[in-house]
């Protein structure tokens, strides 16, 4: 009997294992036959989301409403799940029937790789009108024509200001331009005897909570990519303008002083948030901050305003950065119809959206829900609604490598603000080069 040689058997084992490895990823889960709709048999689905504590309770309440309206469907809610866990679960074939993420960065990957199913056939069958959502929302829920996600509320970034601190500095109105923000921020910043910052007018560090390039960029009219997907960070002069403005503010007290202030500022989503404790006079943040202030610092005398814009871009006043929570059906879902029913409920049912929006203090994504929500009459919420409805508001275009372009830019900004970039324009071109290389590695 002929015996297999040792090298040959080793190669055979390696090949078998490698084939096993590839077999794990073969199912794309794209089913074109979606039936006529409706769930007739008792079905249990899993709903993964990232919310926790107070916010998770709101989600749970709305899911209960859904179960009452759809008695055949039971929803097993998995709260506190981050994107990376969800990604691993979906790729391992786990039945994440409905996945919810607050990061629209994942849409490019999930749509193009079919990690989430194409919702187009369901949308068409059930005649869901996507025009109910603003263009910016439609933009961040789809990738290259594939609508693999639906929105569940939106997040909009504006300016929060401490009325008492502004009044003490002699101001009655929040800033409308970046030069006003810089001047007011500087005047409202207070130092102790050692030169340490004890109160910040505005913290120019990036990142500082939600003060990041993606949220500040729209105020300068900065664009990430052109129509063909080519990065524009090195060629759009708005980015350089933004960074020079930011660096000038940092240099007034030195980046080390700002970093020291940041170190003691308290965690962003805790009661120690520096804006909530009155250590920061003006801060960029999402509309959801209002709910945190109500829970953690109800006595804070604050106001909200539209984002200040670059002095040369006054036409942008009223616009800003918009993003939101997105939901999709995991490709391993065994009950996609029931999953779609939940997604449709959370994204299009007016009462559900209103309950979610009022509970979480997020922007309702449909016009009908916005009209019905109590938030529309809330003075603190109005600026965010205005930004949301502004046609010049923008989001970051999706890419197949998720947040990699933002990470690359953030790394550059780290170097820039600490004075390690000798030539800004050359450095920004280098950012584009790296983004292009990364996209090429991803096969884009």
């Amino acid at each position: 009997m002929r015996r297999t040689s040792r090298p040959a058997s080793t190669i055979a084992v390696i090949a078998a294992l490698a084939l096993g490895a590839t077999a794990c990823t073969a199912d794309t889960g794209d089913k074109s036959d979606i039936g006529k709709g409706g769930v007739t048999e008792p079905t249990t689905i899993e709903f993964w989301h990232f919310f926790a504590d107070r916010e998770a309770e709101t989600i749970a309440a709305v899911v209960k409403d859904f179960e009452k309206k759809n008695p055949k469907i039971t929803v097993n809610v998995k709260s506190g799940q981050d994107d990376e866990k969800m990604k691993q679960a979906i790729s391992a074939g786990q039945a994440v029937d409905v996945g919810l993420s607050y990061s629209t960065d994942i849409v490019g990957t999930y749509c193009s790789k079919k990690a989430w199913r194409d919702l187009g056939p369901y949308i068409e069958r059930d005649e869901v009108n996507l025009d109910d959502f603003p263009e910016v929302v439609r933009g961040y829920t789809a990738y290259k024509g594939t609508q693999c996600s639906m929105p569940m509320l939106a997040d909009v970034y504006g300016l929060y200001y401490n009325k008492d601190l502004l009044k003490a500095g002699g101001y009655t109105e929040p800033p409308k331009t970046m030069s006003e923000l810089a001047e007011m921020g500087d005047k409202l910043t207070k130092l102790d005897a050692k030169g340490n910052i004890v109160q910040a007018g505005f913290v120019p560090l990036m990142p500082f909570y939600e003060n990041v390039a993606s949220h500040l960029g729209p105020a300068f009219g900065a664009k990430w990519f052109d129509e063909s997907g080519k990065p524009l960070i090195g060629t759009d002069p708005a980015w350089a303008e933004m960074l020079k403005w930011q660096k000038a503010l940092l240099d007034k007290h030195g980046v080390d002083k700002w970093k020291k202030f940041y170190a003691g500022a308290g965690e962003e989503f805790s009661a120690n948030n520096a804006f909530q404790t009155g250590k920061v006079a003006m801060n960029i943040d999402g509309e959801y901050r209002g709910a945190f202030i109500k829970a953690d610092a109800p006595k804070l005398n604050y106001g909200t305003a539209l984002m200040p814009v670059a002095d040369s871009k006054s036409d942008l006043y009223g616009s800003g950065y918009v993003t939101g929570n997105i939901m999709g059906i995991g490709r391993g879902s065994k009950s996609p119809e029931a999953a779609w029913q939940l997604i449709k409920y959370l994204s299009t049912d007016t009462d559900a959206i209103v309950k979610l929006a009022d509970g979480l203090r997020n922007i309702p994504t449909t016009k009908a829900a916005l009209e019905k929500s109590s938030l529309k009459d809330d003075e603190l919420f109005k600026p965010f609604i205005e930004i949301f409805n502004n046609p010049k508001s923008s989001s970051i275009p999706a890419t197949p490598n998720g947040a990699a372009p933002q990470n690359t830019f953030a790394t550059f900004i780290d170097s820039w603000q600490t004075g390690k970039v000798p030539n800004l324009e050359t450095g920004l071109k280098g950012v584009d080069t790296q983004i292009e290389k990364d996209l090429k590695l991803a096969g884009a």
Partner: protein, 328 residues
Amino acid sequence: MTITATRGTRVDVPAALRKKRRRHRLVVLAFLAPWIAGFLMFFGYPFVATVYYSFTRYDLFTPPEFVGLLNYEFMVKDDPTVRIAVRNTLWLVALMVPAKILFALGLAQILTRLKSGVGFWRSVFYLPALAPPVAATIAFVFLFNPEYGVANAVLGVFGVDGPGWFTDPDWSKPSLTLLALWGAGDVMIILLAALLDVPRDLYDAADVDGAGPTQKFRFVTLPTISPVLGFAAITGVIQTLQYFTQAAVASGVASNRASTGKGGSDVLGFPEQSTLTYPLWLYVRGFGQNYLGYASALAMALLVVAFALTVLMLWRAPALMGGEGENS
């Protein structure tokens, strides 16, 4: 001819003996089976899959696409951050590992000299090694917070303006080293056992020869405990090449930024990528940015480096520590 004779001898083994040997082999195999299954499942398969994926473009969701050496080329030519991660990791290997061993050796030496309360102090020094790394790191970052931390408050009493510890890129790796020293009880305990195992006769002989404390340490203690020191160094280097948890938690907590929902990839390395170790960057590339094929190539490079360093240390360490050479 000899070979033929040997083979012939095997043929002549009685059937009963052959049966006994075969049964013996099967029994051995049965006892080994759980280990073999575990080895294939948790090492063999992942290893082969990682090798395979490292030559592919793979994002977890779509089937891997063979790209040859592209990932390895990208690592060398087109990923500047990997160089930062390598530098950070080598810094920790070069400074944290020796510092931890020396500190543990110092503690163990002190314990051998104590006249009373040895058990108590041994427990005190060992206890931090039992603390879960995540909890210990969070506590450390709070204690060393430059604004409200205890460490800087104590320094302030002496008129010293404390540094930024985990928020200053120049101090973040030394701060992680401090954390490692605090948890050096695991190394201390094996070094203590080795020190207590040094024959008293050798010290007595050294005393007779008029050796001082330094000479006794250099020519008696060190050669005797060198195998244990070598073990601590090799395992320390391998562990530090895989340094992940403490760096990830420290950067997340010190950054004050929410990582909820995104899995933390965007805060790893804070401040200014000074805590971005090689395994952290591998994780960011693999699970944060979906480059599983590239992350596999990074993992293979790490394996090769860890293997090479281990071989080098096994080859040279005994000689360096006063042993009998590379074969000892």
